[in-house]
Amino acid sequence: MALFKRKKKEENKWVKCKNCSETFYVEELEQNHWICPNCSSYFRISAANRIKITVDEGTFKEFDTRMTTKDPLEFSDLKPYKDRLKEAIAKTKRKEAVVNGVCKIDNEPCVLSVMDFSFLGGSMGYATGEKLVRAVEKAMKLKIGLVIISASGGARMQEGILSLMQMERVSAALSMLSKKGLPYISFLTDPTTGGVAASFSMLGDIIMAEPNALIGFAGPRVIEQTIGRGLPEGFQRSEFLLEKGFIDVIVERKDVPKYIGKFLRFFSENVKK
């Protein structure tokens, strides 16, 4: 048993690239911002790692840590939603698919919400939506900018209509923020689709994206089934959206703090404290 445990620990230090199948030491990847040293593809990363590589060290103060969903529909498909939630909470050590905090990025104070794809695919439930609304309200209260980093498959089906309502709620809150003249930077990472794409993620004053992230309303498989043929190469990727005019800039991981910092500074200078 002890031997087995040690072996498992050892294995955890290695991570395989999903694109080229090469394996790397965690430390090596961490130093490389979780970008494959061999094929340069971007690994999907947890909210914690995202915060680590984006936020000024030691400045992140998380809030709303305990907010979680209560399964008001008592939903069950092949498995009760309650069980899925328990698993997600155990796996991620988080209670929801988004992490809220006040922090500095490139020395600029802001409210930051980071979605965590490893929590039920980053799906938006009503507690996720509530946390996003509260992040917007926090930015209004502190009179600082807001940054939301999206990583989500969209709505959380196990919360049915309650999930859909969050799209309007967060969009409404963002409208309030905008009226106060505070900047909102939306940063899209792989994947940003469905109800998250079709609401707050597309409403940034500035919309940034990571290279090659899947971004779109309908999932590629749904579109293929609807139109009865395959999709063109690069369809619904960041570069495609940039070309079509729906995002402002594609930013490499190492440059993200610099870009966010610049936009926050640039748009905040005239905000009356």
Binding site: D77, L78, Y126, Q158, G160, I161, M167, M202, I227, F246
Partner: protein
């Protein structure tokens, strides 16, 4: 005429009544008593059947091909309606109707999804599934309504926003997101009626109003029951389980605080009596328009913010 399996007994009785009437006319026989018996039987079947419909039947009614659509409601409710077209950027989306007219003497802007009445019409209307230009058309009309201080009424009936290559190229996500934002910011009363299928983001795009009413046998959900089944059950055959689990019927949504009012349908469903269905919808709209138009702009916007800010918060 399209008849659902569970509607068949009713139509059979109606047919018998009609042939009795016909016979009476031809041969001069008195059939009043027999007709009355049949009418009573029909009504008791209708009441029994429709008082507690299972969700699979509600879905069938919500998608009934004879169900009144936006243009039907406009015909019965809106006087002197003039449709206007186009998003001024790309095209005119036939899956969404926009225009101006009067309800009683009140000016209104109208937005609504439009399904087709037959195959040809459905191809023209894209089955009520809008592309980005449809939403952008509604944004344009919302801005016009704001500029000239005209309240907005919307009719919601769509399987969802269209999932296609062109839709993605032209920014389906951005179009819907901008609608959610624009609708919230539009400084005139907005009354929403879900008349058939409230399908996901495509429905929500014109549903972020001050008051949301829902016809008794319509549905409103985050994904279609079939879509939910194929993702969560990995097989489309569980769509009724999915529909029950997601709570897409009017009563459940009312309990959850997502809609404000359930609008009664004629016995047997809206398609059995357009005039009565439209009258019920009109009563709902007029009552709420009267309330909301009394409010000052700031009070209206504060009310709207409270509504959306607090929706679902009570469930935490």
């Amino acid at each position: 005429m399209f008849v659902l399996d569970f509607e068949k007994p009713i139509y059979d009785i109606e047919e018998r009544i009609n042939s009795l009437k016909h016979m009476a006319e031809e041969k001069g026989i008195d059939v009043l008593e027999e007709i009355e018996v049949l009418e009573n039987k029909k009504n008791s079947i209708l009441e029994e059947e429709f008082n507690n419909l299972s969700i699979d039947k509600v879905i069938k009614l919500a998608r009934h091909p004879n169900r009144p659509y936006t243009l039907d409601y406009i015909k019965y409710i809106v006087n002197d309606f003039t449709e206007i077209h186009g998003d001024r950027v790309f095209a005119d989306d036939k899956a969404i109707i926009t225009g101006f007219g009067y309800i009683d003497n009140q000016k209104v802007a109208v937005l609504g999804h439009q399904k087709g009445k037959n195959t040809k019409d459905n191809l023209y209307r894209n089955f009520g599934m809008s592309n980005p230009e449809g939403y952008r058309k509604t944004q344009r009309v919302m801005k016009l309504a704001q500029k000239f201080n005209i309240p907005i009424v919307t009719f919601v009936d769509t399987p969802g926003a269209y999932p296609g290559i062109g839709a993605e190229e032209r920014g389906q996500s951005e179009a819907i997101a901008r609608n959610l934002y624009t609708m919230f910011e539009t400084e005139v009363p907005i009354i929403v009626t879900i008349t058939g299928e409230g399908g996901s983001g495509g429905a929500l795009a014109i549903s972020g109003g001050d008051v949301v009413g829902m016809l008794e046998f319509s549905i409103y959900g985050v994904i279609s029951p079939e879509g939910c089944s194929s993702i969560l059950w990995r097989d489309v055959s569980h769509s009724i389980d999915a529909a029950n689990a997601m709570k897409i019927g009017a009563k459940d949504l009312y309990k959850l605080g997502v809609i404000d009012e359930i609008i009664k349908e004629p016995l047997g469903g809206a398609h059995r009596n357009y005039e009565e269905a439209a009258l019920n919808v009109k009563k709902f709209i007029v009552k709420n328009l009267n309330e909301l138009t009394k409010l000052k702009k700031s009070a209206l916007l504060e009310r709207r913010w409270r509504k959306w800010r607090n929706m679902t918060t009570q469930l935490l």
